[in-house]
């Protein structure tokens, strides 16, 4: 579904992605983990061409993202919904207008239809009562859920999550995890989750890839990942108090 072919990216004089090869399969939840500055968010931004690689190619289906321009790029981007790290809600619009923004700007749908669709999506993230509220009135977790409702308003095939649980307490983080799993089941989407929260990645991921110094050092299922022999993976697991002896509890049903 999404394929990185020898993608290299320099930013601010540092090599952030170093000939990265990666393949994300349809309908899976692919988690990219790693320390801060490892290149996780940079790789995510390449998928929707917010960044372009210095060398290498990125494919979404048969479309080469880094060569797409104009309407071709719009077509590729329309396959995605993105939840940004801080939710990226427009502060002067209320929740309903934020979620419905893509439909209002890009379609000629009547307002009643848009409002109905917005409420439908807000229902999916359990926030229909916030329709008229402004982003300032919402907590961090609620903002992320509104951002998620906006990401799915156009029924995308792929949802990208940039640090969906960062800055949230453990209880809210697990709520977001369950929501990601539920949306995957309900909508049949492919999910790509960038996170440094291994608990979250192990709970929701179909496969987990670890980025370190711009390279993928491990790609495995959660069960294989916690038993990995890779020293970098081991160190990362231990830093989050996860050991192979631990009884790992997989995500409960959504």
């Amino acid at each position: 579904m999404i394929r990185f072919e020898k993608v290299t990216k320099w930013l601010g004089g540092s090599l952030v992605l170093d000939e990265v090869d990666m393949e994300i399969r349809q309908h899976e939840t692919f988690c990219i983990v790693g320390a801060s500055g490892a290149g996780k968010s940079v790789s995510l931004k390449h998928m929707v061409r917010l960044l372009t690689p210095d060398s290498g190619r990125i494919f979404v289906g048969d479309d080469c993202v880094n060569e797409a321009r104009g309407k071709d790029l719009d077509r590729v981007r329309n396959r995605f919904g993105v939840l940004f790290q801080g939710a990226a809600l427009l502060q002067w619009l209320n929740v309903g207008d934020n979620v419905g923004l893509p439909l209002r700007m890009k379609t000629d749908k009547p307002d009643e239809d848009i409002d109905r669709l917005v409420k439908e999506k807000l229902e999916m993230v359990d926030l229909v009562e916030t329709f008229s509220k402004t982003p300032y009135e919402l907590s961090g977790g609620m903002r992320k859920r509104v951002g998620l409702a906006r990401a799915i308003i156009e029924d995308p095939e792929i949802i990208l999550y940039d640090e969906p649980t960062s800055g949230l307490d453990p209880v809210t983080s697990r709520t977001i995890d369950r929501l990601i799993s539920r949306l995957k089941t309900d909508l049949g989407v492919t999910s790509v989750v960038v996170t440094h929260d291994l608990h979250s990645a192990l709970a929701i991921g179909t496969r987990i890839a670890m980025l370190h110094d711009g390279k993928i050092v491990e790609t495995a299922t959660p069960k294989e990942f916690i038993k990995s022999d890779n020293e970098i993976v081991k160190g990362f697991l231990e830093a989050q108090y996860i050991t192979t002896e631990a009884e790992w509890k997989r995500d409960p049903s959504p």
């Binding site: 929707v48 372009t52 940004f84 990226a88």
Partner: protein, 270 residues
């Protein structure tokens, strides 16, 4: 992509290299700002659709109605100072009645559009830069791009249309208040009656003076929008970057308005 990827350069070795790099960066920035302006102008027909009408009206309200208070004070005192300074000199030759034409011509040709431009650049332009800069930093502009909503059409075009409409209107307002300020000083301090002041003002002012001033106002509106929005989109490094973009907007807008104002004056009054 309206947001440029951060550029990295090796440290410069000498003054010449450093100067060259700054000049190139300035030229590149000017070129990008011009491309942004062209894109926004190309999008103006979309402003007629109901999708953008509300945004344009909102920007007109913010840039126009909300600036009236400060404009009134600045224009009134500008007119009063002009009348007092010219009046004191003209009184030496018993020609103080000519303050009417002096104040009116200066306001119509230069001070009206320039004072309006300064106030709008400092209050509205800086807020454009801060708002767009904050949106860049908090990834809201990236979110628009990913949703295939063109940031220039959504953010720049309504502001451009609003200032193209509001700048001439505000300039007319500034002119009127400035001329009235001059009349008050004439009446109270220089012994020039209101009818004599306005007779003198209308005798020498021509339609051309008004039109050139209004033309300047439109050009200043375009310049302020271009500078402020471009600085906003160029914001990097969080809150510090937003502050830098705001400061640059005000400084660059003032400098560009002075230079372009001079060129327009030279073009029409040579």
């Amino acid at each position: 992509m309206i947001i440029q990827e951060p550029e990295h350069f090796e440290p410069t070795r000498n003054f010449v290299q450093n100067t060259g790099r700054h000049v190139l960066a300035m030229l590149r920035g000017s070129g990008r700002a011009m491309l942004m302006l062209l894109e926004a102008m190309r999008d103006i027909p979309h402003g007629l659709s109901s999708k953008h009408r509300h945004d344009i009206l909102l920007q007109q309200y913010v840039s126009g109605v909300k600036s009236l208070g400060v404009l009134t004070v600045v224009a009134l005192f500008t007119g009063m100072i002009l009348a007092l300074q010219t009046g004191i000199e003209l009184r030496r030759f018993a020609q103080e009645v000519y303050i009417g034409s002096a104040v009116t011509l200066v306001m119509l040709r230069e001070m009206g559009p320039f004072m309006t431009g300064m106030i709008i650049a400092a209050s509205v332009g800086s807020s454009f830069a801060a708002q767009i800069g904050t949106m860049v930093v908090s990834e809201e502009v990236s979110a628009l791009e990913v949703m295939s909503i063109k940031p220039v059409r959504y953010l720049v075009m309504p502001r451009l249309v609003a200032l193209i409409i509001m700048m001439p209107l505000l300039t007319v307002y500034t002119n009127v208040i400035g001329v009235v300020g001059g009349a008050i000083v004439g009446q109270t301090q220089l012994g020039v009656s209101m009818p004599a002041y306005f007779d003198n003002a209308t005798q020498y002012a021509q339609n051309k003076d008004l039109y050139v001033g209004l033309f300047k106002a439109v050009v200043f509106g375009i310049l302020i929008t271009t500078v402020s929005c471009y600085q906003g989109f160029s914001t990097t490094q969080g809150a510090v970057g937003v502050g830098r973009a705001t400061r640059r907007t005000v400084v660059i807008s003032f400098l560009v308005m002075l230079a372009v104002g001079y060129m327009i004056t030279r073009l029409f009054y040579q």
